[in-house]
Symmetry: C2
Subunit: 213 residues, 2 copies
DNA sequence: ACCTGAACACCGTTCAAGT
DNA sequence: ACCTGAACACCGTTCAAGT
């Protein structure tokens, strides 16, 4: 019957997800993964093309397992809810943004969301061209939020987190930077707030006004 | 008189900028930099704290040298022009976005732009809190656009660029994805368009409507 | 087909020693 | 103070060989 393969795509993806969950993306390397599987780095390359493919497999798995709620029928609500959902799915694997960036299309298991964003936009009165434009603006906002959220998470445990910022604020000339000086004390609190949804609504309504009045 | 230091911050930054300009961020490593300076990697650490500090020095230099045009007096125009300027300054060094992300404040030589964004927002009628919120939404949009632009640049020369996307579109079920199927052929053209400014205006007007009606 | 070992061509950074 | 050499603890990936 031919000896069974020791490794498999599934086993590799499962081990990778375990590392991701317990130690973060920073710890996920082909070598570390091989060690966890009692194998060698090169054995992995028989099952996945390269590290990017492995990361995409992880996203596919994550997105496929994510619940698919019914979307509201009203087109603007559908647009907002779908865009929010796109953010929420990726918020749990923000490391994927860099991989997705190389091609500007979502992973296939998250494509239904893109379809719903475009559909909502068209049903709001946009042309298909305008709907793609709106999707891109929403995607830039979402990707930026995810990237900055991820690197905040990466550095928040450092003892000197925000040291550079505090020093910059302390050296601020109030005559030259009146607005920033006045805000200095409240800046950390204000920037720590989660304003994603509210910002998303502003972005979408701005796009709707610009295109369909 | 004590022998002069062979290396200096300035010489290191200059060599780094040369590598950045001719070969891109991917080629900028402390070891490569040392080689270009006929020195050793560790000699560099006597003049800069670490690689992140070096990258910030490069941004400071770039932003300081950038022209500082007068901004339009009308607050909404000031807001739009300042936000556009923020994008244009960073568009020439998009690799900095990751470094800036760790602290959520701009490099000091670009702070005058942040001041003007906040000022424009306040003069449009926003409270300082709302102005910081607006700045953050604008920054997310800008950072996302820059990041995706950068990785498009990184991969556009590959022979298989867009291969994954094309295959994904080809396998699309028109019944399940009517909007995307209809757009498939035009997707590459539509997503290649530079819509930054138009999107920025939509974002800003959306924010203004949401906060000051 | 699947896996191993060794190698290639790199990283950022620390440590101990030199002048 | 400034610099060097060697080392630490890693990377992703290719190549040639084994079963």
């Amino acid at each position: 019957m031919g000896r069974p393969a020791r490794l498999s795509r599934e086993a590799i993806v499962a081990a990778a997800r375990r590392i991701l969950g317990t130690e973060g993306v920073g710890s996920l390397s082909m070598r570390r993964l091989a060690k966890d599987l009692d194998s060698t780095p090169m054995a992995l390359y028989h099952h996945v093309k390269d590290k990017d493919e492995l990361l995409l497999l992880l996203l596919e798995e994550h997105a496929a397992q994510f619940p698919r709620p019914d979307l509201p029928p009203e087109p603007r609500d559908q647009l907002i809810t779908a865009a929010q959902l796109l953010h929420d799915i990726l918020a749990e694997c923000p490391w994927i943004v860099e991989v997705l960036a190389s091609d500007d299309l979502m992973a296939v298991s998250a494509l239904w969301i893109v379809e719903n964003i475009i559909d909502g936009a068209v049903r709001c009165g946009m042309t298909p061209e305008q709907a793609v434009y709106a999707y891109r603006v929403i995607w830039y906002y979402t990707a930026g939020e995810l990237m900055l959220r991820a690197s905040r998470g990466k550095h928040y445990s450092r003892p000197d987190a925000g040291a550079h910022r505090e020093k910059a604020f302390a050296n601020l000339d109030p005559a030259q930077f009146p607005r920033l000086s006045a805000l200095a004390g409240r800046w950390p609190t204000l920037t720590a707030r989660d304003t994603h949804r509210s910002g998303l609504i502003a972005v979408i309504d701005g796009l709707l006004r610009q295109t369909v009045g």
